[in-house]
Every structure is written in structure tokens, then in C-alpha cells.
């Protein structure tokens, strides 16, 4: 880790102290594929689902949790921030209405898959993701779970790594993604993950300037929340680098189709569905076999009669050939 003057405000410490990790992430093939929207559509959706888990996979449990009904076992960033909203380090940047991405991720997944929001979790992409969650995802959520129970202030580093990224590079990805997957930037359908509101307003943020205002506000909030606590600053810097590593892990997990890696070729068609056989297909095979058997029996193509017919057919074929 680079040596950074710990007397600087935390926003500058994190900026300077994560340059290396940031660049490593930015230069990875996974990041390039994402920025160029070169992922196959299914893989892009799968990535959105992974992000959805990291931001907050289960609002219902966390809602119940706040009224003391049950306790979520695994933490995700936005639920953890919600539970520690009163933490003095986190409070100045606590603004789920401005920042929270979970529900927009859900809306986007639904739009890209063309499946209602209530039922995308039954989609094969999601069920197979859940059947064997990638280690990078598990690593990420367990890290959030860990720090939530040991030192929730460190959640700030994760907020920083994710949200500032979404506010910066996310805006580039948005435009490319829209073009690549045929999404409409005007209506914003399928692109809400990359869309923010203007600071202090309900008007959509459209310019780089709007984004910058949010980032400036966020950094000021970090500085106010952390103050001069150098021990905390050091821990946050370490955690921010961890956050970048965790994100690098997610990106490394992306399976990039080599053929689709050319940045300018948009993926216009969804990749064909997996080559497993549906129940309907299997059922129709069985039906066909039964039917074939039935016809053979009824048509008298079995047994001795059948054998004589086969011989007759053979002779007929032979006569044709001779």
C-alpha cells in the first residue's frame, strides 16, 4: 500500500491510496468487457444479479429486522448501511434515496430479461447462480458481514468504492450498454442502475456536472464523518483497497466470450438458451416412442408379419436398384 499522508482528509487519502488498486481493476479484461459492453447478454445479466446481491439481496428481511422480527444472516452493503445509519462515521453520507442501487438493479434485470420484476429470481440464470455462487461473491458478502459485526465504520470504504465508481465509470458503461443491448436511453428502461437524481432534487442527473456535485457532496460527507481520526483513516484505506480487490475478483469471474470481445460489435441478439432439454421435449420423445410403437403394432409391422413385410420391402428396394 502506498504511503499516504494520514493528515489529509479521508477523501483524499482514499483517492491517493487506492490509485494502484483502482488502476488494476480498471485495466482488467473484465472491466474492459464491461466498459465496452462486450459481455454476452446473459453474462451481463448475471453480473447485475451479483451486484444486486452485493448491494442488498434481501430488503424484506432487513425491513422485518428493523421492527425486530428477524435477523438477516448475510450482510449486503445497503442493508448494513441502513442498520448503521446512526453511526457517526456513516451518517453524513447515509442517503439511500440518492444512492441506493438495489431496487434499480432489480428493475434492470427484469427489463433486460423481459421477465416481470416479481419473477426474475425464478430465471435459470439466477437459479444457477444461486446453486453455486461464485467464490468472489461469497468473499464479498462475507467481508461485509465481518466488518458489520466488528467495525461498521469500515462500511464507508465499501460505499466509497462502489458508489463513486457508479457515479464515474458507470456513466460511460451506461451509454455503451444502451447501444450494445438495444436499450433506450430516453426512456431509461433497463438502465436505471446507472441513473442518479440530482443532489437535493428529484430531477434526473444528466450531466457530468450533476454527477460531480454528488461526488463532491459524498466526499465532504466522508471527511465530516471521519474527521481527524488517523487510526480510522488507516483502517479505511486498508478496507478501501480490500474493496477494490473484491471488485476485481467479481470482474475476473466474468466469462468473456473471446469472439464478442471486439469493442465495437454490439450484441444485438441474446445468446441462445442453454442446451439442456426441457421437460416438454423429453415428454414428447417418450410420446413419440409410444406412438411409434403403437403404429408399428397396429400397422402389423411386428412379429412374423412384420418380418415378411420387411423382406418384401427389401426385394422392392433391390428391384429398384437392379
Amino acid at each position: 500500500m502506498a504511503t499516504v499522508d494520514l493528515n489529509l482528509p479521508i477523501s483524499e487519502i482514499l483517492h491517493k491510496g487506492t490509485v494502484k488498486s483502482h488502476d488494476e481493476v480498471a485495466k482488467s479484461p473484465g472491466a474492459a468487457a464491461l466498459v465496452n459492453a462486450a459481455l454476452p447478454r446473459e453474462e451481463y445479466v448475471r453480473f447485475l444479479m451479483i451486484l444486486w446481491h452485493i448491494y442488498g439481496y434481501c430488503s424484506f428481511f432487513s425491513l422485518l429486522d428493523t421492527v425486530g422480527l428477524t435477523i438477516a444472516v448475510i450482510s449486503a452493503i445497503e442493508e448494513a448501511l441502513e442498520r448503521h445509519a446512526a453511526n457517526t462515521v456513516l451518517q453524513p453520507t447515509y442517503n439511500p434515496i440518492l444512492l441506493a442501487r438495489k431496487s434499480s438493479l432489480s428493475a434492470d434485470i427484469s427489463a433486460v430479461l423481459q421477465v416481470p420484476e416479481s419473477s426474475w429470481q425464478a430465471h435459470p440464470i439466477y437459479t444457477s447462480l444461486m446453486a453455486s455462487p461464485p467464490p468472489a461473491l461469497t468473499a464479498y458478502t462475507s467481508r461485509i458481514t465481518d466488518i458489520e459485526s466488528t467495525d461498521p465504520s469500515l462500511l464507508l470504504a465499501h460505499s466509497y468504492a462502489r458508489y463513486l465508481g457508479d457515479l464515474s465509470g458507470g456513466q460511460v458503461i451506461k451509454h455503451r450498454t444502451a447501444k450494445a443491448y438495444g436499450l433506450d436511453e430516453q426512456s431509461n428502461i433497463g438502465l436505471s442502475f446507472y441513473t442518479f437524481r440530482q443532489l437535493g432534487s428529484s430531477v434526473p442527473a444528466t450531466s457530468q456536472g450533476d454527477m460531480k456535485k454528488i461526488k463532491v457532496w459524498f466526499k465532504a460527507g466522508m471527511d465530516a464523518g471521519v474527521g481527524d481520526d488517523t487510526k480510522l483513516k488507516e483502517a479505511l484505506l486498508r478496507e478501501a483497497n480490500t474493496a477494490f480487490e473484491l471488485n476485481a475478483g467479481l470482474l475476473n469471474d466474468l466469462s468473456i466470450d473471446e469472439k464478442l470481445q471486439q469493442p465495437v460489435v454490439p450484441i444485438l441478439q441474446p445468446v441462445p438458451a442453454e442446451k439442456t432439454y426441457s421437460i416438454a421435449t423429453v415428454f414428447s420423445v417418450i410420446t413419440a416412442i409410444c406412438l411409434a410403437h403403437f403404429l408399428l403394432v397396429i400397422g402389423g409391422f411386428t412379429g412374423a408379419k412384420g418380418y415378411s413385410k420387411l423382406l418384401a420391402a427389401e426385394q422392392w428396394v433391390a428391384s429398384l436398384l437392379s
Binding site: V35, S62, L63, T66, V67, G68, L69, E82, N95, P96, I97, S103, S104, A107, S110, Q114, V115, P116, E117, S119, Q171, V172, K174, H175, D184, E185, S187, I189, L199, G200, S201, S202, T206, S207, Q208, G209, K212, V264, V265, P266, I267, L268, Q269, K275, T281, S284, V285, A288, I289, L291, A292, H293, L295, L296, F301, T302, G303, G306, Y307, L310
Partner: protein, 732 residues
């Protein structure tokens, strides 16, 4: 038997194998088929030649301008398209708008004499070019890069630069400036000044300020005159002799609606939601209506959150459709099938689905109910049936004041303006006999009247109580226009809310009453406009059930997740709509908490205050009978403060409004915000109410902080907004 049984097996096996091969033919033979490779459509259009040769494309499309954009988030691209549109409308010049990544620049020096190149360049991050302009910049800046002339020279090349950047970053507009410098160095000649837009605040103004001067210089440099482009149509409209009727759009809002195929419902594919309940909310309806409508979303896949908006897709009223059909001379051919094609798809897309019919376009797809714009009147004047009508329209388009009194204050729609100009009687029911026909090409109507938009309403229910039903609370918009010497005052009806009122009458089998003439109204037309609410091909009517096409628009107007946070809601009139949803949301949570943790479950909840206002408790008190039940279920946590402006007065006789009640409750309000970290929500009229409430809040907070409203109060309000603890859902 052995032989027979083996042949048995053989025959069976052959049968099975054939059946299996047939069934799995896709999988088995898929490898053999050539894989379809996705091809970007932009490249597909030009059949022959090098797709990266922009000069060839320009020649092929007879285009004299090429516009390159260096764009990362799409803004520069938008401005590039705008420049192309303006070049076309001003000078009739066609442009090739290009992503520099898709072209080679070796032959930039071959740009013909009578052509020009535009660069619309964004600067990103620390003075870097956008990703799609990296190669372009390298080519331009690299001295060893040779153009087809064998040199790094662009002698005499005419170019325009508009550059986009952000003043708060170092290297403001570096890329645009670099392009400019390097082109000048290579002997190219800039037309006009270099434009520079500041993305931080004034991009639009910067652009507007720059472009007029640039176009003047452009016109001189290119030897073209303004006004040549007025007649270049955007679209080609053709009447189709024979077309399968089932493929003609008669008001369907999506391809899925036409083909009746399933798909998710969003703004691109609205859902026809059956109306399960429709009732009047005002106790007294002699001069006003407010409708409560419940839209059934069962099995639509539509979900919503409290505070979201529902978009309702209305159609235009019958009388306006007929009026414009008559004025355009299309009444006889109203049901003819037409196809519409964009003549330059990069610049203008056909804004609605086709093929369709004239009547459908006017009824369902374009906004003919809006007040006619000043610009369009000028454009239409040349199609006037007589010199007087032409002079009348020209006068309106050039004289702002006259336009304002006659058209804007008179609330005249396009059809009415055409009738007025031709001297027709506006008050009579329009027919081809009493309405003069103008010969306006239909493509001009398509390109100059905007698409009919959905009307958005704040949803007044919570999905926790009503998972399959979206409630709408809409006051019916109806007012009298200001009379002038040419037109009497008339009743003006809001399109969306009267569409809903129509649906309400139909859903309940009621007949629309005549509009009240209680006031000394000079209004000529006194019947509520009728709509084709049964929809295209009767799609919005099923036996006695009517449907309205809707979609949900997400909002950020949300309660805090934690019920311990106090909540203050200010919503007079229909501004109360989302708060009914908010309260229902909390009621649902309360029920679950109490069920689980017993009657004291709400003990540590924050206070929920609703400030509501209307004229009288007996006249227009919305959901009057529901509130007491919510209060009971929320166990004293919910208090309602009502201002009845025509019922309860101050001792001095002045009216009491919501902001006055807020001030009266200032101690609690300040405590909830400052100590309780509470949330404040304002919904309703943006102009007067919302502003007054914000001022009162500043006063309360300034006082509580021991300072003034102007300094401490406003600072606190700003802080609350930045943390999304003060949120507005307002309209004007």
C-alpha cells in the same frame, strides 16, 4: 420366435431413432448451420464499398456535411444530431453523423470543396479524449500520419468545432481546443468561432449563444442561404392500397398489443388495466370533480412501490379528432391506411407505430389537444386556403403579443386555430361542410406535433395493502379560457383527467351530466368531451369492464425504511394522493408488527404527521372516511392537521393554509427534524404551496437553531434536501 422378436426390436429401434432425430434436429444439426453473426445496423445500409470510408458514404447519400462526435455518455452525440437537424432545416443540407471509431481518416483531405466537417468533441477526466475519439486524435496529432495526399496537411478543409467540457475540471475543453489547433496548423480553415460548452451549468445556453454566429459564418463560407431547407420533409407519408387489416395499428401502443403476444409491461408496452372501482371523491360536485380509480394489475407482472407514479395513456377527445380531420381535408379518407417512413432515420424517427390511419394518428398518437405552438403556425401559413388566412397565421407567428392574447390565453388548439383563420364557426360541431379544408402535407403534421404523452399521477395506494391494484386520485381539470375579441370564453378540459372521468362514467354505467353553468359563463360548449374509451378494436372494453392503458414510473419519493424515524407529510388537495399510500404502507407494517410483538409494538415508532388542506370538510375532503381508521390502526402515532380554507378562518377573517398549520405545530416539527432525524415530504402545487411550505420550514428551523430563516433556516433546508430527508413531488 427369436428372429421375429429381434426384427421387432430392430423396427422399433429405427422408429425411435427417427423420432429422436426429428425431435432433436435443432440441437443435432445446429453446428452445421452457419452461425448468424450480429451486424450493426448502421453498417448494413451501405451495400458496396469500404464501410469505414465516410467520403464514399457522403457521396452516395449526397451529403455535404460530415459530423464527428467524440462522446462518452451521449451528450456530444446529441449535439451532433442537433447540428445536423439545424443544417437541414436552415439550409436543406444533409449530414452524415459519425462515430469516429467506425471510420478511417486517411482520406479526410479528399473532402470535396463544397463540403465541411464538424467536430463535436467532449473532453473527459483529466483532459483525455473520449474512448471513441482516441484514434481520431492520434491521427490528427501524429505528424507522421499521412493523409491520402502523402502529407500531414489538410489545406483548405472547412471545419466547425463545438467542444464540450466541465469548468470544474482542469483542462477545460482540452480536446476541442486541440482539434482546433492541430487542424489550423495543417492548413484547414475554421468556420466561425470555436464553440465551448460548460457541462457544469450552462451547456445549453453556451450552445445557443454560439450557434447563431456560427451558422452565419457557415452560410457565407459555404455559399448557402437560410430558408432553403424549410421544405425538406422529415417523413414520407404514403397511402397504402392494400394492407392486411390485422397489421394496421389502430391505436395500439406497442407491437405486442397489436399481435397480442405476451411481454413485460413498461412505458414501451403499457398494460390495459381493468378498472375495478371508480368513484367520485368530492362530497359536492356541482362545479368540480375528483375521481378515485382502482386499476387492477393482476397477472400483468406489474409491481409498484408507494410513492411511484402511474402513467395513464389517454386518447384525444372525439370532437378534436373530427375538427382537425376536417381542417386537414382528411375527413373522407380518415380510415385510409397510411405508411410513414423517415427520410433520414439518424435525425428523425417515426414517433409512433405504423402502418396506421389518419384518424388513428390524430386520436391516439399525437398531441392535438395542446395549445397550438407559435412556430408551427408560421410553417403552416403557406398552405392557407386564402390570403386572409395566410396573413392571419403569419401575423400570429411573428407577433408574440397577439399570439399570447389570442392563442395562449384563448387556449386554442391547432384545429381551432385553422378554423379561426379560415373564418369557420368554432362553437358548432365540426363537419367537412362547416370547416374549410387546408392542404397541409401530413408529413408536416407528423414532424411538428409532438407525440401524445402519458399523463402521470402519484399512486395513492400501497402495494402492501393492495398488491394487485393501483389507485389513482385525480382532480378533473376544467377551466374557462380568457375571452378575446375573436373568441369567446370556452370550457377547456384537461385531456388525461377528463379521459379518466369518461372512464369513470362508463365503468359505472352513468351518463355524463352537463357541465355546470352556475357561473355567468359565456362558454359555448357545455358538454364533457367524449373519448373512444373502448380502445382500438375494442381492446379496452370487456363486456362491462373498461380498461385504461398504464405503466408504472419509479420515483424516489419513499418513506424511510425504519419506522422509528418521524415523518412529516404536507399534501393539500390531490397532493394527499401519495400520502394515502404512505399511510397504508405504515398500516401494513403496523399490522405485522402488532401481530408478532403484541399491542405495544409501535411504542418506539416515530410520529407521522399529515398536513392536509381543502376548501370545506363537507365539500372536497378527500378520503374523509378513511383517515380515522388509519389513525386507529397506527395507535396514536398518526396525527392529521387539516386546513379548511373556506370553513375555518382566523379571527381577522383571513384564510388558513397548510403552511399556517405547520407553523402552529413548529415545536413538534423542529423536534422531529432536528432531534428525531425525521423526513419531510411535500406534494402538490409547485408554485405557491410548495414554496410557501419551504419558507415556513426555513423559518421553523432557523428559529430552532437560534438563528434566522434566511441563514440557518435555509442552510438546514439545503442540508435536508441533500440528504434526501426533504423530498418534493410537485407539479405546476
Amino acid at each position: 420366435m427369436a428372429s421375429t422378436s429381434s426384427s421387432d426390436v430392430l423396427v422399433l429401434a429405427v422408429g425411435v431413432a427417427l423420432a429422436a432425430i426429428y425431435l432433436f434436429r435443432d440441437q443435432l444439426f445446429a453446428q452445421a448451420k452457419p452461425k448468424s453473426v450480429p451486424v450493426p445496423t448502421s453498417k448494413a445500409s451501405n451495400g458496396s464499398g469500404n464501410p469505414r470510408d465516410f467520403i464514399a458514404k457522403m457521396k452516395e447519400g449526397k451529403k455535404r456535411l460530415v459530423i464527428f462526435y467524440g462522446s462518452q455518455t451521449g451528450t456530444a452525440e446529441e449535439y451532433a444530431i442537433r447540428l445536423a437537424k439545424e443544417a437541414k432545416s436552415k439550409f436543406g443540407l444533409a449530414s452524415l453523423v459519425c462515430d469516429p471509431e467506425e471510420y478511417d481518416f486517411e482520406n479526410l483531405d479528399q473532402l470535396p470543396e463544397d463540403c465541411a466537417v464538424f467536430f463535436v468533441m467532449a473532453t473527459y477526466g483529466e483532459g483525455e479524449p473520449t474512448d471513441n475519439a482516441v484514434t481520431l486524435m492520434q491521427n490528427l496529432e501524429d505528424e507522421s500520419f499521412e493523409f491520402s495526399n502523402g502529407e500531414h496537411k489538410l489545406e483548405g478543409l472547412k471545419y466547425v468545432v463545438f467542444s464540450l467540457g466541465n469548468k470544474t475540471y482542469e483542462h477545460y475543453n482540452k480536446i476541442g481546443r486541440d482539434v482546433d489547433n492541430v487542424l489550423t496548423k495543417m492548413g484547414a480553415i475554421r468556420i466561425g468561432e470555436r464553440g465551448e460548452g460548460d457541462d457544469d451549468k450552462s451547456m445549453e445556453e453556451d450552445y445557443l449563444e454560439w450557434k447563431d454566429g456560427m451558422w452565419d459564418a457557415f452560410s457565407a463560407a459555404m455559399g448557402v442561404e437560410e430558408g432553403q431547407g424549410g421544405d425538406t420533409p422529415d417523413f414520407a407519408v404514403t397511402e397504402l392500397e392494400s394492407h392486411p387489416p390485422e397489421k394496421v395499428y389502430l391505436g395500439e401502443l406497442s407491437a405486442r398489443a397489436l399481435t397480442k403476444t405476451k411481454g413485460i409491461h413498461d412505458a414501451k408496452n403499457p398494460f390495459p388495466a381493468p378498472i375495478s372501482v371508480a368513484r367520485e371523491l368530492f362530497q359536492s360536485t356541482h362545479d368540480r370533480n375528483c375521481v378515485h380509480i382502482e386499476l387492477n394489475t393482476e397477472s400483468s407482472g406489474i409491481s409498484y412501490q408507494h410513492g411511484d407514479h402511474v402513467g395513464v395513456w389517454p386518447s384525444n377527445p372525439d370532437v378534436e379528432v373530427t375538427r382537425l380531420l376536417c381542417a386537414l381535408g382528411l375527413y373522407e379518407k380518415k380510415d385510409n391506411v397510411i405508411g410513414i417512413e423517415s427520410l433520414d432515420p439518424a435525425l428523425a424517427k417515426v414517433p409512433f407505430p405504423v402502418p396506421t390511419t389518419y384518424a388513428t394518428v390524430l386520436r391516439h398518437y399525437i398531441d392535438i389537444s395542446a395549445v397550438a405552438g407559435r412556430q408551427i403556425l408560421g410553417a403552416l401559413s403557406k398552405f392557407a386556403p386564402n390570403p386572409e388566412a395566410e396573413a392571419f397565421l403569419k401575423g400570429l407567428s411573428t407577433n408574440k403579443e397577439e399570439y399570447h392574447t389570442l392563442i395562449a390565453n384563448g387556449c386554442l388548439k391547432l384545429g381551432e386555430v385553422l378554423q379561426l383563420a379560415a373564418g369557420n364557426d368554432l362553437s358548432a360541431a365540426p363537419t367537412p361542410e362547416n370547416t374549410t379544408a387546408w392542404t397541409i402535407p401530413f408529413d408536416i403534421i407528423v414532424s411538428s406535433i409532438p407525440r401524445l404523452q402519458p399523463r402521470y399521477y402519484s399512486i395513492s395506494s400501497s402495494p402492501k395493502l393492495h398488491p394487485n391494484s393501483i389507485h389513482v386520485t385525480a382532480v378533473v381539470l376544467k377551466y374557462e379560457s380568457i375571452p378575446n375579441e375573436r373568441v369567446n370564453g370556452r370550457w377547456i378540459f384537461g385531456v388525461g383527467s377528463n379521459f379518466l372521468l369518461n372512464l369513470k362514467y362508463a365503468a359505472n354505467g352513468e351518463t355524463a351530466p352537463l357541465v355546470a353553468t352556475g357561473s355567468e359563463s359565456k362558454a359555448a360548449s357545455v358538454t364533457i368531451p367524449g373519448y373512444a374509451i373502448e380502445g382500438p378494436r375494442g381492446a379496452y372494453k370487456q363486456e362491462t369492464i373498461y380498461k385504461a392503458p398504464i405503466h408504472v414510473r419509479r420515483s424516489t419519493f419513499r418513506l424511510p425504511t425504519n419506522p422509528k424515524s418521524p415523518v412529516i407529510m404536507i399534501g393539500p388537495g390531490t397532493g394527499v394522493a401519495p400520502f394515502r399510500g404512505f399511510i397504508q404502507e405504515r398500516v401494513a407494517l403496523a399490522r405485522r408488527s402488532i401481530e408478532k410483538n403484541g399491542p405495544d409494538a409501535l411504542a418506539d415508532w416515530g410520529r407521522i404527521s399529515l398536513f392536509y388542506g381543502c376548501r370545506k370538510s363537507t365539500e372536497d375532503f378527500l378520503y374523509k372516511d378513511e383517515w380515522p381508521q388509519y389513525q386507529e390502526e397506527l395507535r396514536g402515532k398518526f396525527t392529521m392537521h387539516c386546513a379548511f380554507s373556506r370553513e375555518v378562518y382566523r379571527p381577522d377573517g383571513s384564510k388558513i393554509y397548510v403552511q399556517d398549520l405547520l407553523w402552529d405545530d413548529r415545536e413538534q416539527v423542529a423536534d422531529a427534524i432536528i432531534n428525531g432525524k425525521g423526513y419531510i415530504y411535500i406534494c402538490g402545487d409547485a408554485k405557491s404551496m410548495s414554496k410557501a411550505v419551504e419558507e415556513t420550514l426555513a423559518k421553523i428551523l432557523g428559529e430552532a437553531k437560534g438563528g434566522s430563516a434566511d441563514v440557518e433556516g435555509n442552510a438546514e433546508v439545503k442540508l435536508l434536501k441533500e440528504r434526501s430527508r426533504l423530498m418534493l413531488d410537485v407539479w405546476s
